[in-house]
């Protein structure tokens, strides 16, 4: 499931609520893997005051569902929750959360990371930074998520 959120969210509160309503009592899970991406106040050498996140309504949800389905087909997973902010973000605001519930830990680790990497390369979201000098600047590309592994 993907939620596109226009307001700030607390990932730990979202997880507590979602687990209560969607997981506990329904699934016998042994593992939960979570990734939260948070807005930093720097990028490369620039200070960043705020960030404007836009997306392609409709296509974003469709592509994210496809990403989740394609990956969960290959692993033994009980549920996947993705939350992604759009709109104006301030430093330390959560941008994205991916949570995976599975029987065994290998699936939670693999799927949370794979969904995150695919989101960053395929889901139609775009970041515009407002830098310390108030210049607005579109982020041109996401960095790779694996290195020296």
């Amino acid at each position: 499931m993907i939620h596109i959120l226009t307001e700030p969210f607390d990932p730990w509160q979202v997880l507590a609520d979602y687990q209560k309503t969607h997981i506990d009592g329904k699934h016998s899970y042994g593992a939960t893997g979570v990734f939260v991406g948070t807005m930093r106040d720097f990028n490369d050498a620039h200070g960043v005051q705020q960030m404007e996140l836009s997306h392609y309504p409709g296509m974003t949800e469709k592509q994210t569902e496809k990403i989740i389905n394609r990956i969960t087909d290959e692993w033994d997973v009980l549920d996947v929750l993705v939350c992604h902010r759009v709109g104006v973000l301030l430093p330390s605001d959560p941008i994205v959360m991916v949570a995976v519930w599975s029987h065994h830990r290998v699936d939670a680790f693999e799927v949370s990371r794979a969904v995150m990497e695919k989101l960053k390369s395929e889901a139609p979201f775009w970041k515009k930074e407002v830098r310390d000098n108030s210049d607005k600047h579109w982020v041109e590309k996401n960095t790779a998520g694996y290195k020296g592994v």
């Binding site: 995150m116 960053k120 395929e122 139609p124 775009w126 579109w138």
Partner: protein
């Protein structure tokens, strides 16, 4: 009618979020851009057809939704 959408830096470049185009010409995604903007689509841009990633040469028909945008930077 074909719906044409622009996102992110490409929306700034063209100065609007959307165009409408008569579908009678049977154009490719690349040709639609050329027709509307009299210039080739900037290199490195991505395109979609009905909210699925597509190729520049894919044909577009009446009722379709085409979009042009730079590489995604979410997450």
């Amino acid at each position: 009618m074909i719906t044409v959408k622009y996102f992110a830096s490409l929306q700034d470049t063209v100065g609007k979020a959307e165009d409408k185009l008569d579908a009678s010409a049977n154009l490719s995604i690349e040709a639609i851009w050329q027709t509307l903007h009299n210039t080739p689509l900037p290199k490195g841009m991505l395109v979609s057809l009905n909210q699925e990633y597509a190729a520049l040469t894919d044909p577009v028909k009446d009722g379709d939704e085409v979009a042009y945008f730079p590489p995604v930077t979410g997450g």
